[in-house]
Symmetry: C2
Subunit: 216 residues, 2 copies
């Protein structure tokens, strides 16, 4: 198909498609001659992936490029797919950074949850984050961290169960990233609800009524 048709099918403006081509997020179509190129189903899937990662997950084009690069060549093999999942998580949550020291709280968590005591980017990110919180005077007690751990276990289980290793790489990455993002948002909103609920429990419904800029 030609650019105009690709634009229609994918719901992306021709100008944006050209932009993604220039940015290297989309392969050039097969050149029929110097002024005509042919695009296929792969281009449509790629555009769906870009759109989804942008609009739903809110990633920038640089992050999307990293995910696309990591997807290259990962067609089958569950192990590679799960590794790709780790990359997606790393990008979505910005897990990369300096190594940093292992934290006792992190060790305690891993032991309490009976998780394999392996070094991983996620583990280092948790350790670093606990150190940052400590430094900011916002410590997390071991009980709280373990409560997070139990919830995280359930979440991870649900997400892995919902992960279809048979999809095309694009669809696999897209559903994984979208699912991850939506679950993350859900947790945060439930925390907000819990906090509102506990406030009401302690101080009554007046808490709700006193909200907002205009005070009585």
């Amino acid at each position: 198909m030609r650019l105009a048709r690709l634009s229609e099918v994918s719901g992306t403006s021709p100008a944006s498609i050209k932009f993604y081509l220039r940015a290297g997020l989309l392969q050039p179509g097969a050149a029929i001659n110097p002024t005509r190129a042919d695009y296929g189903e792969g281009h449509v899937r790629r555009l769906r992936l870009i759109q989804g990662l942008r609009s739903t997950v809110g990633l920038g084009l640089e992050d999307i490029r990293r995910i696309i690069d990591a997807s290259a060549g990962v067609e089958d093999s569950p192990v590679r797919r799960l590794a790709l999942l780790a990359t997606v998580q790393s990008v979505v949550l910005r897990l990369d950074g300096d190594p940093g020291a292992a934290s006792p709280a992190g060790d305690a968590l891993v032991r309490a949850m009976a998780w394999p005591d392996e070094d991983s980017e996620a583990r280092r990110a948790v350790d670093r984050h606990l150190a940052v919180m400590e430094a900011a005077g916002v410590g997390a007690t071991a009980e709280v961290v373990q409560a997070y751990g139990r919830a995280a276990d359930a979440i991870a289980d649900a997400q892995l169960a919902a992960t279809d290793l048979q999809d095309s790489v694009e669809d696999f990455v897209l559903t994984a990233a979208v699912g991850m993002h939506l679950h993350n948002q859900l947790i945060l909103k439930i925390v907000a609800l819990a906090q509102a609920s506990q406030s009401i429990r302690r101080y009554g419904a007046g808490v709700r009524d006193a909200a907002g800029p205009g005070q009585p």
Copy 2:
């Protein structure tokens, strides 16, 4: 103190201070004469708040303005402070939106957690979010939602306990927002760790090694 001194004390460039003054995020200093103004401790606190909300929590100036507006006049009264906390959460998590229908999953959660069955912005946000997830084909089972709920209860408890209702409004809002943000990030990172751990448990450490763009 003069602008130059305020700049030194707060670590904000004079140009930025002027910018915040223009944007209305900072009150003008007490005018001594047409070309000289005096700034006080309140200005320093306000700048600390703006800086913290920007750099740590990553809020935009519009969101910061909403929080500042909501803080106006809230000096004491625990009830008002907790209401302010709800506003901060609403801004940080972007809880506002159309009402939307109540979801059975949300009701189940509230009942299971024995939270007060009150209407609130957070509750509507959870309901809406569950509907969005359903629509996106990323359903959350009741068990998962309740696992989130238990963790959220522990989180909310820890955060409310760490909330010092005696601080200045600025410090109160700042520590609340920063704590909220850091806890949120922690949860997401622990989920990432849980997922990595479960992947390794199922498929062995090969998952970790297969990560990254360069494949063997």
